[in-house]
């Protein structure tokens, strides 16, 4: 092991020590203590068994510099007609954004943090070093429409950088919002964002995340969500960029009848590694959590889906569902999926399943016999494989963006 996680962890702590104190110093210092104790997680931890961060830990530690000439980055923005908030290298970019409305903040959110640093050292690292972020609050019974959050990480040719953005979304009782989160970048970097979501009674958040990071980049995203009674969280995460990516969600169903849909799809090729990890705590009765994770894997790509469901004693009538479906396009591709159920209530319905397969040769033959060339036929079947997951995305512009992004991936990658 040439690169032990210890050295970069020390370097990150040094960056924190060198940082001027701000109004969030106490929270940052507490996070620094948690990060110092844990370090960058290694594979001996069960939660990191399938994802090896050593290539990431081998990067020199350097904060992403502020980019002043952002006009040239406009072409990297997703094509979607909705108000957007853009961050570049962790800093709010006023000129690329079309929405500010006083909701942009410097430093961490003033609201009490949901992030538990104990189980999430990378979230602690974010808290230590995050620069700008966004707090989005929708008042009671207001429909906030659709909002786009973009994060671009730009590394110079020979210098890898570290970036940490932070979002906080609070929906008051009965409020509704669709958020489309899009992350991309250039060069070698580590983007380590944290999102915190609090949904009050009867609130509804549609959350589409598109991870289209640079193929040399790394992304480790941690999301914390808390749902009160009758709230709905409808998430779809598409991962197709990054050399290594992990999307970790820690979600708590805290009020009766709350519902969380956490679907995901990853399209990985070459030597890409994509990890979807979820921890869902059913703490109240009558809640439902549903997760369908689809992976399309080519080359030597490797995907991970770890889904943990914890059902508390009080959470009777829990309905938990996990499905992992993988399409392997190459004999060297690999999927590791691991369901974990921890159930303390006695009247629950929890199911999980997994399928792994190649493209169906009979379906391929049928398409080709109708004149459709092999490459196009493969593409149609892969799109069909993903269609079911995408159809569940209710927000029409978000769904269109997902489809366009998948099409663009195909055009580039093949």
């Amino acid at each position: 092991m040439s690169a032990t996680p210890a050295q970069p962890a020390a370097d990150f702590l040094a960056l924190f020590d060198a940082r001027a104190e701000d109004s969030f110093h106490e929270a940052r210092a507490s996070a620094a203590r948690a990060f110092a104790a844990a370090g960058i997680p290694g594979r001996r931890l069960e939660a990191w068994k399938y994802t090896d961060l050593r290539p990431l830990a081998a990067l020199p530690v350097r904060l992403a510099p502020e980019i002043t000439d952002v006009a040239r980055l406009a072409a990297m923005l997703p094509a979607i007609a909705a108000p957007r908030i853009v961050f570049v290298n962790g800093k709010f970019s006023e000129s690329l954004s079309t929405f500010s409305d006083g909701k942009i903040f410097s430093g961490l959110a003033a609201a009490p943090s949901l992030a538990s640093h104990e189980n999430a050292p990378l979230a602690a690292l974010n808290t230590m070093l995050a620069e700008d972020g966004a707090v989005i609050r929708v008042p009671e019974n207001v429909d906030g429409g659709t909002l786009v959050l973009v994060h671009l990480t730009i590394a110079s040719v020979d210098a890898p950088v570290f970036s940490a953005s932070r979002y906080r979304i609070d929906l008051a009782p009965g409020a509704a919002l669709n958020v489309i989160e899009y992350s991309s970048g250039q060069g070698v970097y580590w983007n380590n964002p944290v999102s915190e979501i609090a949904l009050a009674e009867g609130a509804r958040l549609g959350h589409v995340r598109i991870q289209a990071e640079s193929v040399e980049g790394f992304q480790t995203a941690t999301l914390f969500a808390d749902l009160l009674g009758g709230a709905r969280y409808e998430a779809f995460t598409l991962g197709l960029g990054a050399r290594l990516a992990r999307s970790e969600t820690q979600l708590r169903l805290a009020g009766a009848g709350a519902i969380a849909h956490m679907d995901a799809a990853q399209l990985l090729a070459g030597a890409q590694h994509g990890d979807v990890t979820t921890v869902v705590a059913h703490d109240a009765p009558g809640c439902a959590s549903r997760q369908t994770v689809k992976n399309v894997l080519d080359g030597r790509a490797r995907a991970v889906f770890q889904g943990r469901i914890e059902v508390a004693r009080a959470a009777q009538k829990t309905d938990g569902y996990q499905m992992s479906q993988a399409l392997l396009l190459s004999p060297d591709a690999e999927i590791d999926c691991k369901p974990e159920l921890e159930i303390f209530a006695d009247d629950v319905k929890c199911s999980h399943g997994a399928t792994v397969g190649a493209l169906d040769p009979e379906q391929m033959f049928y398409l080709r016999a109708r004149g459709i060339p092999g490459d196009l036929a493969r593409r149609m079947l892969i799109r069909a494989f993903l269609a079911e997951a995408i159809e569940n995305v209710a927000d029409v512009p978000a769904r269109a963006l997902l489809e366009d992004t998948i099409d663009a991936w195909w055009e580039q990658g093949r």
Binding site: P361, E362, Q363, F365, Y366, L367, R368, A369, R370, G371, I372, P373, G374, L376, A377, M380, L381, R383, A384, F385, L386, A387, E388
Partner: protein, 259 residues
């Protein structure tokens, strides 16, 4: 004109076709009848280019084009169409998208202009009307949840839209009630003309009452054992394969009364 010369093929070393010789001149419709296991479906799959079979000998020419040298999609572009005995379900693929992608792929390969969505829809609606099919058929996923009859009609719809010059219909009549049978036969008859030929594979005379063949061939043990006019189908219907001296239970090369 389709010419099959000495075609032999098998699967995993087991011979199924043992030297088929068959010529279907342009403008004619020929029927192939034969007992179960005689190689009828194998022949249709091999003509369409299914990779699960090994061609061990012989050749197949469609209007001077060496079919066996082509990929399945190239055969379709060359004008070949196989109506599947068991149409494949494609969950997540809309029928309209499927039909338009296929039509445009074939048109592109033939050097013809592609159709836009509006032009395609006009053409598809007309084809649906001719086949007494509901328009919502276009919105459904290909063959998913279709009844047996709907699947077969969907095959004929594809054929009507792709307008092949040579169609192979593999037991397209199986599972059809009499009304659906008439519609399917009507779809085939509508294509008949001096530039269209077809090979109709069937177990039963019934379909041939509606699609009158120019010639009938009897396939057994992987060989064409008898050929004749439409009356041969009636002869089979009356006396069965035994009346022709064919052991209907024979599989592969083991038929007793060949030659």
């Amino acid at each position: 004109m389709l010419e099959i010369r000495g075609l032999s093929a098998g699967i995993e070393g087991k011979p199924i076709l043992n030297g088929i010789d068959l010529t279907v001149p342009t403008g004619e419709v020929h029927a192939i009848m034969g007992p179960n296991g005689s190689g009828k479906s194998t022949l249709s799959y091999i003509l369409a280019g299914h990779e699960g079979y090994d061609v061990t000998g012989g050749e197949v020419w469609l209007d001077g084009v060496d079919l066996l040298a082509l990929a399945p999609e190239e055969r379709a572009a060359a004008g070949l169409f196989l109506a599947f005995q068991y149409p494949v379900e494609l969950p997540g693929v809309g029928n309209a998208n499927f039909l338009r992608t296929a039509l445009n792929a074939v048109r592109r390969a033939r050097g013809e202009a592609e159709l836009d969505a509006v032009q395609f829809l006009k053409l598809a609606r007309a084809a649906l009307r001719d086949l007494a099919m509901a328009e919502d058929m276009l919105k459904r996923n290909v063959n998913v949840g279709f009844s047996g009859g709907e699947k077969k009609r969907n095959e004929v719809l594809q054929m009507a839209i792709l307008k092949p010059k040579f169609a192979v219909l593999d037991e397209t009549d199986s599972g059809l009630d009499i009304d659906a049978l008439k519609i399917v036969a009507g779809g085939v008859n509508a294509l008949r003309g001096p530039h269209f030929s077809a090979l109709v594979i069937t177990h039963y005379q019934r379909l041939l009452d509606h699609i009158t063949p120019d010639r009938v061939h009897v396939l057994a043990g992987g060989r064409i054992l008898r050929s004749g006019g439409p009356e041969l189908a009636h002869e089979l219907e009356r006396g069965g394969y035994a009346a022709l001296g064919i052991d209907a239970t024979a599989q592969g090369v083991s038929e007793a009364n060949a030659a």
